[in-house]
């Protein structure tokens, strides 16, 4: 699915630079559910953003679905993001003046689908996250958990191969977090590859594999027995 080799990333800080990722090697197969863990500032988000093509590495190779990702034009990157990747953010990042359905259908707009088709697909995915009845509601009228479910529906709308979630439960209480995790597990059961950045152990335990970052290098990479979230819901 994806293969990363000796990946480096630095950020310029004034005159010097901050070396954030110091040679990451990681490969993820199709159908995996991986938790990326680490303390604050260890470079988790940086790694995920590079995987998501929102940012570029300074050095190293990154191959996604047999496509080497290097020196992409912004247009190509946009197309890959649209076809291959679904993003779930800690702060949901819904567009506040669009209702739930329009938010979910937005990636489909950029795929060039007809409006009718977009509404159909959007409603289908909203139904999947159990929010079909909320289709016409604005984000401001939804709870945090509902917002994140709309965001998940949006990430799923374009039927991506890889779901990238940066602390998807970071802004939610425990119960709601488990609901979201149960849902992500279900998606993984259906075959979606999922990468989740988190610093909560219980959330990581609900994945199938845990990668620990310390100071820009992978210190631990282990497969674990998945804890099913549904038992807590």
């Amino acid at each position: 699915m994806l293969k990363i080799n000796k990946l480096h990333k630095s950020y310029p800080i004034g005159d010097s630079s901050l070396h954030v990722l110091k040679g990451i090697d990681l490969s993820v197969e199709s159908g995996e559910m991986v938790a990326i863990m680490g303390s604050s500032g260890s470079g988790k988000s940086t790694l995920l953003n590079i995987i998501g093509m929102l940012d570029e590495a300074d050095e190293g190779d990154y191959i996604l679905d047999n496509v080497p990702i290097k020196n992409l034009t912004e247009k190509k990157a946009a197309i890959y993001r649209n076809r291959f990747l679904g993003f779930i953010f800690q702060s949901f990042n819904l567009i506040n003046y669009k209702n739930a359905l329009d938010n979910v259908a937005l990636p489909l707009y950029y795929q060039g689908l007809k409006r009718k088709e977009r509404i159909e697909k959007g409603l289908f995915h909203l139904e999947k996250v159990g929010l079909k009845a909320w289709a016409e509601h604005l984000p401001s009228e939804l709870s945090g958990g509902q917002k994140q479910r709309v965001a998940i529906a949006r990430a799923l709308a374009a039927d991506p191969k890889l779901l990238l979630a940066d602390e998807p439960t970071g802004a939610l209480d425990t119960t709601t977090s488990y609901e979201i995790m149960a849902f992500l597990q279900q998606l993984n059961d259906e075959g979606k590859t999922i990468l989740i950045v988190t610093h909560e152990e219980d959330i990581a335990d609900m994945c199938k594999r845990i990668v620990r970052l310390v100071d820009g290098v992978i210190m631990e990479d282990k497969f674990v027995e998945q804890v099913r979230a549904s038992q807590y819901v």
């Binding site: 998501g52 946009a78 990636p107 409006r115 374009a158």
Partner: protein
């Protein structure tokens, strides 16, 4: 171009503009005001020009009037203070010898008492050739102007103005073929002309054949003044100078005697007026376009702020697969859209202003503004310019929006 016909494009435009109505309206005011000013000023300038044209329309404007005065320098044995009187011979010489001359029209005028039955008045009596009608078009209401036959046989016929008719005749009374007395001599009325514009001088006058005038006032070949009309492309100032020099020669007057002949150069005065009008139109364009550009820049500025505020949203859109082109296109559509709407409103309200100006200043014979209007082509060109400027100004925020990495846009709070 398909995206222009898609509901979503306009939904996006509507969403982003209606999110802040006040700001949208304020920016539009800039362009609206520019267009309004442009249309209002251009229309008024046109109205003023039309009014001048109406004023001078019946007049050969490339003309100069010359009359004799008295000399101020002694020359060839003549003392200064010699009375100078122009003659028909002078007129003939001028016509034959001055370059660029179209017509030379000798004219005579005297004040005369005119009576009919028991009504009478004092009017200007002009002795004229048929040629006068060519250079100072008379709008005939009834009958005709002087013709060559009148001249050849010294006919006692008269052409009166509407004003004189009103003073000497009963309302609606027949006047053609009637007789009036000028200095106790019977003249037959053969025509009546419309009162010209009063600003062009008194119209309470009448015209009799030049030759008849010579006879009854015992003028011989002397004439009051000469109207010289230049060909349309001729330099009237040059004609004036040439004519005066030649007249001085004919009358044995010192070449540098500036007082021997009086003159009024209508062509020069008219050129001043037209120059003023052209200047005003130029100023109008300048002011209007400057205001327009300022307005469009205001829109660009606001869009820039909007884009900054929407950086995060734009980041989200890009994460979801929007290409930079799609982002830019949307912002430019927004820019063009508000510029155009504001421009349309400006054109409509500009039209209303012109209608208002026409109602207030455009009525009657003495109107300051005649048919104040802007050609439709100018309106279209203005709209085209607006589209162009809108696109141009939309480019700045559009490039700003896509110049940063999506991740930096997403980090923005």
């Amino acid at each position: 171009m398909r995206f222009l016909f898609e509901r979503d494009t306009w939904q996006e435009v509507y969403d982003s503009l209606s999110k802040n109505v006040l700001r949208t309206v304020l920016t539009m005011v800039g362009v609206w005001w520019g267009v309004l000013l442009l249309i209002g000023l251009l229309g008024s300038a046109k109205g003023l020009e039309n009014s001048f044209n109406r004023l001078f329309g019946s007049f050969a404007t490339n003309s100069v009037f010359v009359w004799g005065q008295s000399t101020s320098k002694p020359f060839k044995g003549f003392q200064e203070g010699k009375q100078v009187v122009l003659t028909l011979f002078d007129a003939k010489k001028l016509e034959e010898n001055i370059d660029g001359v179209e017509f030379v029209v000798p004219r005579n005028q005297n004040q005369g008492v005119v009576t009919r039955n028991f009504l009478s008045g004092s009017f200007g009596v002009n002795g004229d050739y048929p040629l006068l009608d060519r250079v100072q078009k008379k709008k005939m209401i009834h009958g005709r102007f002087i013709n060559q036959n009148d001249i050849d046989s010294n006919k006692k016929v008269v052409i009166i103005s509407e004003e004189i008719y009103k003073q000497l005749f009963q309302k609606d009374a027949e006047m053609i073929g009637e007789y009036i007395q000028i200095n106790s001599i019977n003249f037959m009325v053969v025509g009546m002309f419309e009162n010209g514009n009063r600003s062009m001088g008194p119209t309470s006058d009448l015209h009799i054949p030049f030759t008849t005038f010579q006879q009854i006032y015992n003028q011989g070949n002397d004439i009051g003044w000469i109207m010289i009309t230049g060909k349309p492309e001729a330099d009237i100032t040059q004609i004036e100078a040439d004519a005066k020099l030649m007249l001085k020669n004919l009358h044995r007057i010192h070449p540098e005697d500036d007082r021997a002949f009086g003159s009024f150069n209508l062509g020069k005065e008219f050129a001043k007026l037209t120059g003023f009008l052209t200047g005003m139109q130029f100023l109008t364009w300048f002011v209007g376009i400057a205001t327009l550009i300022a307005g469009v820049f205001a829109i660009g500025n606001i869009l820039l702020i909007t884009v900054k505020e929407r950086t995060k949203e734009i980041g989200v859109r890009r994460a979801l697969g929007a290409t930079p082109f799609e982002i830019k296109r949307q912002i430019i559509v927004e820019a063009v859209f508000i510029t155009l709407i504001a421009g349309f409103l400006g054109i409509i309200s500009g039209g209303w202003i012109l209608i208002g100006l026409n109602a207030a200043f455009g009525q009657g014979d003495e109107a300051v503004l005649v048919n104040a209007s802007v050609p439709i082509a100018v309106v279209f060109i203005a709209l085209l310019i607006l589209v162009f400027l809108g696109t141009l100004i939309g480019l700045i925020p559009a490039f700003k929006a896509t110049s940063i990495k999506p991740i930096d846009a997403l980090r923005e709070e």
